[in-house]
Amino acid sequence: MRLRKSIKALVVLGSVLAVVVWLTAANRSQAVVSATIDDKPAANDYVGSDTCKDCHEDTFKAYSHTAHATLTTLSSWKNKASGCESCHGPGKAHVDGGGDKTKIISFTNKSSKEISETCLSCHAGKEERNNFRRGEHWRNDIGCTDCHSPHSNKEGRNVASSNMLVTTANAEKPGFSTIRMLKANDPQLCTSCHSEVKSQFSAPFHHKVLEGAMRCSDCHNPHGGFELKQTRLATGGDAACIKCHADKQGPFTFEHAPVKTEGCSSCHTPHGSANPRLLRYSAVNQLCLTCHSAAHDVGAVEPSGPSHNQNAQYSNCTACHVKIHGSRTSPVFFR
C-alpha cells in the first residue's frame, strides 16, 4: 500500500519536474514575467500623467483621487516611475503612435496572474501578501483587479437599502472599500463569488457578517496564507476563532484535544446554522457519539453505561460535560 503511494508520488513529482524542465527550456527567451517594463527605459520615454489626461480624462480624474496618485509626494518614491506609467509603462511611443495600443502595456487581454504580477511589483513585501503566489485565489486565477479597482472611481447614489444588513459603499456613502480601492464592501465582494455562504449567514444562528459587525477578512486573509482556507491566526499560532472566543484559548490542564488538533470547525459550522451553537448536528449527543463510539481514538473513550442512557435525562452530553473545550479541574470536563 505504502509502496504504491510512494510510486504515485514519484510519478507525479517526476511529471511535474519534466514539465518544468520542458517549459523552462521552451521559454528561455521569455524573460518578462510581470507586465512591468523590465528593460529599463530611458527617462525621456516617459511622458507623465498629464499627457495621459489629454485623452483619458475620465480615468485620470478618477485616478487622481486615489492613493496611487499621491505617491509622488513621498520621498521613498522619488526617482521612480509614478502615475499612469508606473503600471502601463512608458507612454512616449504610445503617444507618438497616435494612441497605438500596441505601444503601451494594456491589461485588457492579460490574465489575472499577469495583472497581479504588476501589482505585486510594488505591493509585495508586506507579510499580508507574502503568500499571494501560493494562495487559493492565485491558484484559481483570481487576481488583484478582480477585487480592487486600480483607478478607484466609486460611483453610485445612495438609495434605500436594508436597515440591518450592510450595503456596499457608493460615492455618496463612502466606506472601507473606498479607501482600499475595492470594487465593493467586504461581505458583498466576497459573497459575489462565495455565494454559498449567503444562506449560512442568513440562518437563525450566524456570525454577524452581513450585519456589518464582522468582515470576512477578519477571519480570512484574501491575499493568501499558510493556513488552510486562508484563515488568519489569533494570538501566537492559535486558530482565528480564539481571537474573539478568548475563553477557549486555554491552555487547559485537561484539554479536549480535538479543539486544538482538529480545529473548531470539526464540531461547528463557522458561518451559520439552524443548530444552536453553530453545531454540525442539531442534537449534541449524536455529535459526541460520532467520535466517542469505541473508535479508540486518542482519549476518545466510549461513554460507559448505564449512566449514559440516551433516553432524555442524559442525552445532552454538555449538560454534565459543561467545560467541553477544556477544563482546569476535571478530566471529564464536569467543572
Binding site: 521613498s76 496572474k113 466609486k154 453610485g156 460615492a171 455565494s195 501566537g236 463510539s293
Partner: protein, 803 residues
C-alpha cells in the same frame, strides 16, 4: 403589564417622532424650491403652466451618476463626504420571545442606524492626516454595534481601529438543549429553565498603528486588542451523582499587546512581531438562585454554594517572517511563530445543604442503621491548576516562476506543541446522618494535594507541491499533491480525580492487558494523509468564466472519526455576465468523507462514519437602469451524515439499559431564497424591498428508532475493553435534524427631502417556525415559533452630497 406600558410608550414616542419628521417634510418641501439647485430649478420650471405644446413634454434628461470626485464638501484643504442615519425602531414580538432574542436580540428604541465619515485631503498634503474614515453600524438598540476608524498620512503613519460590541442572549428549549433534563423520565420539557442560558456582553477592539507606512526600508507597528466578556449565565454541575443548575456571573478579559517592525533589507522583506497577551477570568458562581432543579425531597439540595476559579493566563509570542523574490523568478517566504502559553488557576468551591449523594467513593463509611438522608455540613473542593503550552509553527513556501505561464510551488509546514497540565486536588466533606436508634452521627472525609497530570504532545508536517499553467488569458489549470503526517501522544499519570476520593493510577507496566480502568495512559496515534488536487479556470467566451477545482485525499488513520479519512471535495462555479447590467452565478460544491474507523475487520457499513454534503447556489444581479436593480438567488444545501455509533438506551419503566450498536443520522435539506429589489420611483423616492427565506425540511418523515434492533447473543467484545458488552443490541437509530422555516421580508421607502436630508420609513418582519420539529421529536413540548414586527422611521443626513 410593565412591558406593555413600555411598549406603548415606545410606540407613542415612535409615532411622535414620525409625526415630527413628517412635519419637517411638509416644512422642508417648499424650502427646496428656494435652493435653486439646477435640478430643482428644472423641476420648478416643469411645474409651471406653459402654452407651448413642446413645453408640456418635459425634456428627457440624463441624470449624472455621482462619483467619488463629484461628491464631497469643501472643508479647507479637505473634502468631506458623510452620511448619518438615526431614528427610532418599534418592535412587537408574538410567540417565543426567548427564541427571538436568542436569534436576533433586537430591541425597540432610538437607534443610530449607520454612519460614514470620509475626510480626504485635496492634494495629498493634509496637516494631520490625508484620509480619515469613520464608519459605524448598529448602535443604540441593536445587539451588535461596530465602529471602524482609519486615519492615515502615508508618509508618517496609518492608524486602523475597530471597536465592536455584542449582546449575546441565549435561552432555548429544544432538542439541542433539552430542558426536561433534571425531571424524572419521561416528563416533558420544563419551558422555563433555559438550560445553559446566557445574557452576556462582549466588547472587543483592534487598534493598530503603523509608523512610516510607505517607507520601504523600515516600518514600525504597534497594536492593542482588548476583549471584555461579562454577564449572567446558567450552567450545570454533575457531582457525586447529583445534578445542579447553577447561576454564574461570567467575567473575563484579555489584553493583547504587539509591537514590531517590517521593512526591506537588500532583497529581503522582513517582518518581526512580538506579542504579549494577558488573560484573566474572574467568573464566579453563587448559590442564591436555581440550584439543583431536582425537586424530590430525597435528592440533594445545596442552598449554600459558592464557586470561584480565578484564572490568570498569558501568551508570549514571537513571529518572524521573510520574503524575497529572486531575479523575478523565485518567490521565497519563510515564517516562524513561537508562542508560550501558561495558565494558573485556583478552583475553590464551598457548599452546604442536604442529602449529598452517598455514593461518593470511599465515603461515608457504611454504618448499619444510618439514614441515607443527611445534612451536608460545610464542605469544599480546592483544586489548583497549572498548565504550560509551548507551540512552534514553521512554514516555508517557494514558488518558481519557470516561465511567464508556468509556476511551481512548494510549501512545507511543521507544527509542534506540548500541553503540560497539573491539577492539585483537595476536598473535604462532612455529613451528619440520623441513626435508627436515635441520635446522629457526623463523619468527615478529606483528601489533600493529590496531583493529576495530563500531557498532550502533537507534531504535524505538511508538504505541498503544486503547479499552475496559464495557457492564455482565458484558460489556466492548477494541480498539486499534499502529504501530511501527524502524531499525537497523550500521557495521563498521577491520581484519577474524576471522583471525590481520587485513586492513584496504576503504572502501565503493572496493568493487566488489555488496559483497563485505573491505569496510567500512554497513548500514541499517528496518521499519514495523501491528497491530490487540481482545477481549472476557463473563459470560453469573453463574458463567461468557469472555475473548477477538486481534491481527493486518503489517510491511514484519523484522530477523530469526523476527521478526513477518504475524502473528495469538488467545487464548480460559473459566472456569466452577458453585459454590464446583468450577472448570473451558479455553483455546485460537494464534499464526501468516509471514515471506516479503526476497528479491524469491520466494514465501513458496520462501523464507519460517512459525511456528505451537496450545495447548489445560484444568483442573478441585474441592474437594467440606474433606477432599478434586482439581486436574487437560490441555494440548496443537502447534508447526510451517517455514523455507526454505540449508545445506551433505556425505556422506563424497564430496568435494563440496552447497549445498542446502531446509527446516528443527521439530515439537512435547506432551501434558501432571497431577493433585493431597489426601485427609484421618482427623483425623490426610492423603494427597497427584500425577502429572505431559509426553509429546512430536515429529516422529512424519518423518525428515530432508538430501541430498534435485535439482541446479540453472548454480547460483544470490543478491542481494548476487558469485559464483553452484555445487553448488546445490533440496530437502532438516532436521527436528528433541525426542520425550520425562517423568513424575513423587508421594505423601506426613502424620500429625498433635499440635498442634505432623506426621510426613511421602513418595516421588517421576521417569522420563525419550527413546528415540523414536533413531528420529528415528539418529546418536545412546544415549538419555539415567533413573529416579530419591526417598523422604523429615520432620517439620513448627508454632507457633501451633490445634486
Amino acid at each position: 403589564m410593565k412591558t406593555n406600558i413600555v411598549n406603548l410608550l415606545r410606540t407613542v414616542s415612535g409615532l411622535a417622532l414620525g409625526l415630527a419628521l413628517m412635519a419637517g417634510v411638509v416644512n422642508a418641501q417648499p424650502a427646496t424650491a428656494s435652493i435653486k439647485t439646477p435640478d430643482a430649478a428644472k423641476d420648478s420650471r416643469k411645474s409651471e403652466p406653459t402654452s407651448s405644446p413642446e413645453a408640456k413634454k418635459p425634456a428627457k434628461k440624463t441624470e449624472a451618476v455621482p462619483t467619488s470626485q463629484s461628491v464631497g464638501e469643501d472643508a479647507g484643504n479637505y473634502t468631506v463626504t458623510s452620511t448619518i442615519e438615526f431614528g427610532y425602531r418599534g418592535q412587537r414580538v408574538d410567540g417565543d420571545v426567548n427564541k427571538f432574542k436568542s436569534d436576533l436580540n433586537y430591541k425597540a428604541g432610538p437607534r443610530l442606524f449607520d454612519t460614514t465619515f470620509l475626510m480626504k485631503s485635496k492634494n495629498g498634503k493634509g496637516d494631520l492626516f490625508d484620509t480619515l474614515l469613520v464608519t459605524s453600524t448598529g448602535w443604540g438598540a441593536d445587539p451588535y454595534g461596530n465602529l471602524r476608524l482609519n486615519a492615515e498620512k502615508p508618509k508618517w503613519y496609518r492608524f486602523e481601529g475597530t471597536y465592536r460590541r455584542f449582546k449575546y442572549y441565549r435561552f432555548l428549549n429544544n432538542i439541542a438543549n433539552p430542558t426536561w433534563l433534571f425531571t424524572p423520565n419521561p416528563t416533558l420539557a420544563n419551558p422555563v429553565t433555559g438550560l445553559h442560558g446566557y445574557n452576556t456582553h462582549t466588547e472587543m477592539g483592534d487598534f493598530d498603528l503603523t509608523i512610516l507606512p510607505k517607507n520601504e526600508k523600515i516600518r514600525f507597528n504597534v497594536g492593542y486588542s482588548p476583549e471584555r466578556y461579562s454577564g449572567p449565565a446558567f450552567t450545570n454541575y454533575h457531582n457525586g451523582g447529583n445534578d445542579f443548575w447553577l447561576h454564574s456571573n461570567l467575567k473575563s478579559r484579555a489584553n493583547d499587546f504587539r509591537f514590531g517592525a517590517d521593512g526591506k533589507l537588500g532583497p529581503i522583506d522582513w517582518t518581526f512581531v512580538q506579542g504579549l497577551r494577558r488573560f484573566r477570568d474572574d467568573s464566579t458562581i453563587d448559590g442564591a438562585f436555581g440550584l439543583n432543579r431536582n425537586t424530590a425531597s430525597s435528592v440533594s439540595q445545596l442552598p449554600i454554594f459558592n464557586r470561584q476559579e480565578p484564572t490568570r493566563g498569558k501568551v508570549d509570542f514571537t513571529r518572524a517572517s521573510i520574503h524575497t523574490f529572486v531575479a523575478k523568478k523565485l518567490d521565497i517566504t519563510g515564517r516562524i511563530i513561537y508562542s508560550r502559553s501558561t495558565s494558573n488557576s485556583l478552583y475553590i468551591e464551598n457548599f452546604a445543604g442536604t442529602n449529598f449523594n452517598t455514593r461518593i467513593t470511599g465515603f461515608p463509611p457504611t454504618v448499619t442503621g444510618a439514614s441515607a438522608t443527611n445534612i451536608t455540613n460545610p464542605s469544599s473542593y480546592n483544586i489548583a491548576g497549572n498548565v504550560k503550552r509551548p507551540n512552534t509553527v514553521g512554514d516555508i513556501g517557494v514558488t518558481f516562476l519557470a516561465t511567464d505561464k508556468f509556476r511551481v510551488s512548494n510549501t512545507f509546514r511543521v507544527e509542534d506543541f506540548t500541553i503540560d497540565g497539573v491539577a492539585s486536588f483537595s476536598d473535604f466533606f462532612s455529613l451528619t446522618r440520623t441513626l435508627t436508634g436515635g441520635g446522629t452521627r457526623t463523619d468527615t472525609f478529606s483528601v489533600s494535594n493529590v496531583n493529576s497530570m495530563r500531557t498532550t504532545k502533537y507534531r504535524k508536517y505538511v508538504e505541498t507541491i503544486e503547479g499552475d499553467y496559464q495557457f492564455n488569458p482565458h484558460y489556466s489549470i492548477h494541480f498539486g499533491y499534499r502529504y501530511g503526517h501527524r502524531r499525537e501522544q497523550q500521557i495521563v499519570t498521577g491520581f484519577a480525580i474524576n471522583s471525590n476520593s481520587p485513586t492513584l493510577l496504576t503504572p502501565i507496566a503493572l496493568c493487566t492487558s488489555p488496559v483497563g480502568a485505573g491505569c496510567e495512559e500512554f497513548e500514541t496515534e499517528a496518521n499519514h494523509t495523501n491528497s491530490f488536487f487540481g482545477g481549472f479556470k476557463a473563459r470560453p467566451v469573453k463574458n463567461w468564466t468557469l472555475y473548477f477545482d477538486a481534491e481527493h485525499g486518503t489517510a491511514d488513520n484519523v484522530f477523530t472519526r469526523i476527521g478526513n479519512y477518504d475524502y473528495t471535495n469538488i467545487r464548480a462555479k460559473s459566472r456569466f455576465a452577458p453585459n454590464r447590467k446583468v450577472i448570473f452565478n451558479f455553483a455546485v460544491i460537494t464534499k464526501d468523507n468516509s471514515n471506516p474507523s479503526e476497528i479491524a475487520g469491520e466494514s465501513i457499513n458496520d462501523f464507519g462514519s460517512s459525511i456528505k454534503s451537496r450545495v447548489f447556489t445560484s444568483s442573478v444581479d441585474w441592474m437594467p437602469t440606474a433606477r432599478f436593480s434586482v439581486n436574487m438567488g437560490y441555494n440548496y444545501t443537502w447534508v447526510n451524515n451517517d455514523s455507526t455509533i454505540d449508545y445506551y438506551y433505556q425505556v422506563p419503566p424497564a430496568a435494563a439499559v440496552f447497549h445498542h450498536f446502531g446509527h446516528a443520522l443527521y439530515y439537512q435539506r435547506n432551501n434558501y431564497f432571497y431577493f433585493d429589489l431597489t426601485t427609484r420611483l421618482n427623483r425623490r423616492m426610492t423603494l427597497y424591498t427584500s425577502y429572505r427565506i431559509n426553509q429546512d425540511h430536515g429529516q422529512g418523515n424519518r423518525l428515530s428508532a432508538p430501541t430498534a434492533g435485535s439482541a446479540i447473543a453472548g454480547g460483544v467484545v470490543v478491542p481494548g475493553v476487558l469485559n464483553p458488552i452484555t445487553n448488546a443490541v445490533l440496530g437502532g437509530t438516532l436521527i436528528t435534524s433541525y426542520p425550520m422555516n425562517f423568513t424575513s421580508p423587508e421594505a423601506r421607502l426613502s424620500i429625498k427631502l433635499n440635498r442634505r436630508l432623506d426621510w426613511n420609513l421602513g418595516y421588517q418582519y421576521f417569522a420563525y417556525n419550527e413546528s415540523n420539529f414536533l413531528n420529528t421529536f415528539p418529546g418536545s413540548l412546544r415549538a419555539q415559533n415567533y413573529h416579530a414586527h419591526l417598523p422604523y422611521i429615520s432620517l439620513r443626513l448627508y454632507i457633501g452630497r451633490k445634486e
